[in-house]
Amino acid sequence: MLMSKSIQAVVTRPNARWWLAAATGLAFAATGAIQTAKAQDTIKVGILHSLSGTMAISETTLKDTMLFLIDEQNKKGGLLGKKLEAVVVDPASNWPLFAEKARELITKDKVAAVFGCWTSVSRKSVLPVFKELNSILFYPVKRWVLAGTDYVYPRTTNKILEAYLKAKGVAAEDIMINYTPFGHSDWQTIVADIKKFGSQGKKTAVVSTINGDANVPFYKELGNQGVKATDIPVVAFSVGEEELAGLDTKPLLGHLAAWNYFQSIKSAGNDAFIAKWKAYTKNPKRVTNDPMEAHVIGFAMWVKAVEKVKSTDPDKVIDALPGITAPNLTGGTSTMLPNHHITKPVFIGEIKGDGQFAVVWKTPGLVPGDAWSDFLPGSKDLEADWVKLKCGNYNKVTKKCGGQAS
């Protein structure tokens, strides 16, 4: 997410055509410089994940996932008869550095594709999930606490949610919005405020967009102050198996999280993947999570597209991508849409005592990713379509590419 912002900033420049953000949690970039790579007998794949800095917690695992996937593909005989070779670079959680390193991978290392970024599709499809929440929480929630880390993603999400809630007739005083700095560790006051806000006679739920690190002390404080899911459920959009690994989850039974994938989902593909992943990392306790699944799908789609056009030429691969399908790990099949987003099911899971999630609700079908929210004034006129329009931010009103909504 953090990263895709900076890539997307480049994408929105109309002439930067060879940049492409396929928003499934992977940014996918390639260049025309690929012809030189063809002459060699390996295909180079760039891996762009922070191995140091604040995002390292979430992203190091994703680097391992990519190495694992490349390893698996090579065991199957590689791609187009060539072996894949991973080129790992470390953008050190420094956002401008991501763009610089991506450029370096493409121009210097001449990679065929770059896999990177850390995000999740459930964030893109926050609204459909949110619409269902009221029924999932099993009572009509009247008051909402929107708690998030103070940066662009939570602020955008909360803006969308607030607009949606107000459209649904929730009064302004029944919405409490709270932002905290990155890595906030003293949650006493905020949890006490949530408790107070929640005990005024109306059913209350918390939607948390708190980022990575800060979740652990937040959940610890919830457990300590005895905020139980039966009284005030907390729904998280950024807490997964990996974040719960550092926590005693017993006091957190029943709090919720929304993702496109949970490790606990039973399907033949998922069971096989978990077993292979544990064998590859030689760690029987290693967990899998949603961003990893995003990589699995994204990588499989790239491989398919390359095989279809029999070339790693990025322009051809990009044109072949929309419509490509790949099995996801939850038993369905995901499709690449013309806006370069991927269809996936959305699940809501309850935290169990062992740090895993029990699925309590899922979307009946696959949810198409929407690049621009229909609920915000600045973006509801925008549309992304790389097949017909060849544009990532086409304005439906002014009929121009690259225009902000008026």
Partner: protein
């Protein structure tokens, strides 16, 4: 009149109870149990309700098992089993052990709605349990569920109860049911408002504000005045709570800064790797707990006590190595010290990341540090309380060490006048190493405590380094008392600002205030007087 009304209600309740019992009877126990085997949340909810109303002696054990995830079922034969604490399988219908249980048993799943239904059902079922703790929990559960069907059981329980605390909880539960019951006589409801008002906490407020709008005017008026009274009282408690949070935050700041007060404050070394010493202390705690978990699970409650000396030794040893290896070549060159220790902090972080992986490590809380208790309306968590005590102990021990031991004396001598101390025969180089080791060791101890409230990851230290410098500079460089006062001042100021300004703005405001303060008093609150070495 009142008596007549009471009679009517008793009759009505008896009728309701009778109807629900006959309804439940209409379904045979087998039918009820079979509902669990569909593993459908609404079927399970119906089964729980039917069981609770049935009066069956197996009802409570079955519902308990469901709550703990010990209720199993076999989908084929539609039979339900309970797994007891020892792992034995019992038949849920009879409670007898089963010799040949089906091989593939599945657990009956529950969700939040069911958890609430279960708590409510158990509340009614266990009001007369022999264990006082269970009765208290039952009373609290009924208070929350406000289930009218629990009234007869409540009345029996109140008549029988001897424990004053539980009796009060039972009476409050009864009042909660009656206040919201539209059928209850107005006088009883007014009495109930009085009981709730005496309770006077957030829950009472929540109950009274959920009174429906069509309540009789007298009742609404009583409730409104009760709400006002409770709110006024809670306002005061709010202030007390903020002060407590401030103390707690202050103690964390003090703990993180106290080691820095030695290395930066006393020795004048700008040690950017201070946070990493804290992080190393936290990882030592994690390793101690890992060993205990695998080898001696019975000792888990003592794991933190064992980790304290170990963390001190490990972090202290690393500190001495850093001083001997790097810092002693850089004395008097603050800019280079800063850069060298900063680089070192990155190396240490990456080393830990390579050795342990980047994911968070779970450090458990011993039982004596989990949970909370209430003083009046102040909610105090044991973990925070212990951290405050621990901080004060460390602080006093450090003061005593500097004041009363030979090492402390020599340390003070070297800081006050290095040349003179050397002339008196003190080996200043050795003292420098030991002082730096002491500061680092104390940072390691801080890591043990911080592992309880923060996440144990390679980045743990980064979050504390700036706060630590802030505390030391604000309190006055070179003065331990200044660090103490500085930490608590910043903690309390932060917590009183936070409710009004929010966490982000509160932090900025504190930073601005400190900058302004430093302009006025560049040497902090308690500046050292006299001839300091480097001055």
């Amino acid at each position: 009149m009142r008596g007549f009304n009471g009679l009517l209600i008793a009759l009505a309740l008896a009728f309701i109870a009778l109807v629900s019992v006959t309804l439940a009877r209409a379904q045979s126990p087998g039918d009820v149990l079979a509902k669990f085997t569909t593993d459908d949340f609404s079927d399970t909810a119906e089964a729980v309700e039917a069981l609770a109303a049935s009066g069956d002696k197996m009802a409570a054990p079955i519902i308990f098992a469901l709550q703990d995830g010990r209720l199993l079922f076999d989908a084929k034969s539609k039979t339900v089993f309970i797994k007891d604490a020892s792992g034995a399988i019992l038949d849920a219908a009879t409670g007898q052990p089963v010799t040949a249980a089906p091989a593939e048993l599945e657990t009956v799943g529950i969700n939040n709605r069911l958890r609430r239904a279960i708590e409510a059902a158990l509340g009614t079922l266990t009001l007369l349990a022999p264990e006082p703790q269970k009765r208290l929990e039952a009373a609290l559960a009924v208070y929350k569920s406000r289930d009218e069907k629990a009234l007869p059981a409540l009345d029996t329980a109140i008549a029988k109860e001897t424990n004053a605390n539980i009796k009060r909880a039972l009476l409050e539960a009864r009042a909660a049911v009656i206040v919201l019951s539209a059928d209850a006589p107005e006088a009883a409801r007014l009495d109930a408002v009085g009981v709730i008002r005496a309770r006077g906490d957030q829950e009472a407020l929540s109950l009274l504000s959920s009174l429906p709008a069509d309540a009789p005017p007298a009742l609404a008026k009583a409730a409104a005045s009760a709400i006002k009274a409770i709110q006024g009282q809670l306002e005061i408690w709010n202030g007390v709570q903020n002060a407590w949070y401030g103390l707690s935050l202050g103690s964390v700041l003090l703990l993180a800064a106290i080691g820095l007060a030695i290395t930066f404050g006393v020795m004048g070394i700008i040690n950017m790797a201070h946070g990493e010493m804290v992080m190393i202390g936290a990882y030592v705690t994690f390793m101690v707990q890992e060993v205990i978990r695998t080898r001696y699970p019975g000792l888990f409650d003592y794991s933190l006590l064992m980790a304290v000396p170990l963390a001190f030794l490990v972090a202290g040893a690393i500190g001495i190595a850093i001083e001997r290896g790097i810092i002693r070549f850089l004395y008097g060159r603050p800019l280079e010290t800063l850069l060298a220790t900063w680089g070192l902090s990155l190396i240490l972080q990456q080393a830990v990341r390579t050795a342990f992986g980047s994911s968070n490590k779970e450090v458990g809380a011993p039982s004596w540090m989990s949970g909370a208790f209430e003083v009046g309306h102040l909610n105090i968590t044991y973990g925070r309380l212990w951290i405050i005590c621990f901080t004060l102990i460390v602080f006093v021990a450090l003061l005593a060490m500097l004041r009363f031991t030979r090492l402390g004396l020599e340390m003070r001598a070297v800081t006050q006048n290095r040349a003179m101390a050397a002339a008196m025969g003190i080996r200043t180089a050795r003292i420098d190493a030991l002082t730096f080791g002491l500061g680092s060791g104390i940072a390691g101890i801080a890591g043990v405590a911080l592992s309880q409230i923060d996440n144990v990851s390679p980045n743990l230290g980064q979050g504390y380094i700036i706060d630590s410098f802030m505390v030391v500079v604000f309190g006055g460089v070179g003065n331990l008392w200044g660090t103490l006062v500085g930490a608590f001042t910043l903690g309390i100021a932060n917590k009183f600002l936070e409710p009004y300004a929010g966490a982000v703005l509160g932090k900025i405001a504190i930073l601005v205030l400190i900058i302004l303060f430093i302009q006025k008093r560049p040497r902090g609150m308690f500046a050292l007087k006299g001839r300091a070495v480097e001055a």
